[in-house]
């Protein structure tokens, strides 16, 4: 069974806050849920399928579902880190195609900024029962050092340069100037990024994404309900998901799970790289964008640095308009999980609702993808391809 054109995105909402110590995480979930449903012309009373991950307050989703007062026939709490919400799009489409639910709600929310989290630079012990932890946590590896090791290896194998990494941030900042909610709206130059302090060699501070509060939500439904709503028809065309492991001692520091999730999604959608008018590619660190673009097939492996340089990701001038909201690098990264905002900007592009300065003309097929967890360790990855009818 394929899920192609079996489910349609009818609601999307990105919380405007970037710092909200005055609201609970549960309240943020509620505001996102109600916002996305209102966008669709629906209410929480219409929801019969809920999809959420570990950012839900409490040990499982029951409390949030209770808080929202939902009446469900289907629930899915798949968690693969930051890409969970892209996987939820796939799973929601599957559930809708199988008749398990008709109106699927996906939410994400969190407050790492209010909670003072040093997301990238603070070593974490990891849960004591996690099987790798005894052999890893004492070394104080961090997100920044792990992606630093990725960048170092990519540079070593392929000749990628710090300037090429910086071009990713330049593109994000060029787009973010038009996003009134973005955390950082200053347009940056390559020199600005290279002049920012090195955090974890070879990554500079401006190679790293922001830490923000906030959240987002999506609503998917059946074709017949979608046609009854006053919204553009945005079908889910294809999805892919995977966990990329450490290969039992032979980890690959330059390859992402997109090598699996990408081809799976393209095959299901029946489209090719040339058909993609816009791409949201999760940008927790600049190097991760380069590696994913390679693994998706936008360029050959090792060519990602050359692909992104000279503004090739900037909407209107480059060959691949990318992260036109400013992405995780400049806009936001709610709960340190960038999956849902990637899908939301893809929906805006397909609806023609992106900022006019970054809107892609005739955007009829868009891709959203991203990792969850950390490259070079077991990490999730998901790719979603959406269309417009």
């Amino acid at each position: 069974m394929t899920i192609k054109r079996k489910a349609f995105v009818v609601g999307a909402f990105e919380h405007p806050t970037r710092h909200c110590p005055d609201k609970s995480t549960a309240q943020l979930h509620a505001e996102c849920a109600i916002g996305a449903l209102a966008d669709a012309g629906l209410s929480p009373k219409d929801v019969d399928g809920y999809f959420g991950a570990r950012d839900i307050p409490g040990p499982n989703a029951s409390w949030l579902v209770d808080y929202l007062g939902l009446n469900l026939t289907h629930i899915d709490c798949t968690d693969t880190g930051g890409c969970s919400y892209l996987i939820h799009i796939s799973h929601a489409a599957q559930a809708i195609a199988a008749g398990k639910c008709k109106v699927a709600l996906i939410t994400l929310a969190g407050r790492p900024k209010s909670e003072g989290m040093a997301t990238g630079t603070a070593p974490r012990d990891g849960e004591p029962d996690r099987p790798d932890v005894p052999w890893e946590s004492p070394y104080r590896n961090t997100n920044a050092t792990q992606y630093g090791m990725m960048a170092a290896r990519h540079m070593h194998q392929y000749g990628t340069t710090p300037e090429q990494l910086a071009w990713v941030r330049v593109a994000a900042s060029t787009h973010a100037q038009y996003n009134e909610h973005a955390m950082y709206r200053n347009v940056l130059t390559v020199e600005d990024i290279l002049n920012s302090p090195v955090i974890a060699d070879p990554l500079h501070r401006l190679d790293c994404c922001v830490i923000s509060d906030g959240g987002g939500a999506l609503v998917l439904t059946t074709e017949s309900i979608a046609r009854s709503l006053n919204k553009p028809m945005i079908p889910v065309l294809g999805c892919g998901e995977t966990i990329n492991t450490q290969k039992s001692g032979w980890p690959d520091f330059v390859t992402t799970g997109a090598v699996v999730s990408g081809p799976t999604a393209f095959a299901e959608a029946g489209v090719s790289i040339q058909d993609i008018k816009y791409a949201s590619v999760y940008d927790n660190f600049t190097i991760m964008v380069i590696a994913q673009l390679e693994d998706l097939g936008f360029c050959a492996k090792g060519e990602g640095g050359r692909f992104v340089q000279d503004g090739n990701l900037i909407s209107g001038t480059g060959s691949l308009p990318w992260n036109t909201d400013g992405g995780g690098l400049c806009n936001n990264h709610p709960q340190n999980r960038g999956g849902i905002t990637k899908a939301i900007e893809a929906v805006r592009q397909l609806r023609g609702e992106a900022h006019p300065k970054v809107q892609v003309p005739n955007c009829d097929i868009a891709l959203a993808c991203g990792p969850g967890g950390v490259i070079g360790t077991g990490h999730g990855h998901a790719t979603v391809i959406l269309g417009r009818e």
């Binding site: 890893e136 090195v198 070079g376």
Partner: protein, 129 residues
């Protein structure tokens, strides 16, 4: 995490820590398919045999990739070290000179208690050039 906690959650790991305490790096080796794996498991993730034995590694390796964490009171080097036996393992390079931890640098194992742990962990020192 204290050794007592590690052993309570990961009982199969005791021989590894006993050897580390005595300056020996043990690698899990499958007695059926003769392949190493890392991090240690009580089964072989290649052929799924439970016939695992511990093999003493030479302690020699090369840096596969590395990064200097500068946002810390004392900067430190995190690295993935490719052991002579094949597996790539996460560790620290004990050096004040990051250039000694560049990709391809030859390193040798040592054992230290790190960051509040009460068990000795394998770490790596740059070989004299």
């Amino acid at each position: 995490m204290k050794l007592e906690t590690v052993l309570s959650f990961h009982p199969h790991s005791k021989p590894f820590w006993d050897a580390s305490e005595n300056g020996r790096l043990l690698l899990p080796l499958c007695a059926d398919c003769d392949r190493f794996h890392w991090y240690p498991r009580p089964f072989c993730p290649h052929c799924y045999s439970f016939n695992i034995k511990w093999h003493e590694a030479s302690g020699k390796g090369t840096v596969h990739t590395s990064s200097l964490m500068r946002r810390a009171k004392e900067p430190y080097i995190v690295a993935a070290v490719e052991l002579e036996e094949g597996p790539i393992i996460l560790s620290n390079i004990m050096s004040d000179d990051f250039s000694k931890a560049a990709i391809g640098a030859r390193v040798t194992v040592g054992f230290e208690c790190l960051n509040g742990t009460d068990r000795k962990m394998p770490v790596f020192f740059p070989d004299a050039t």
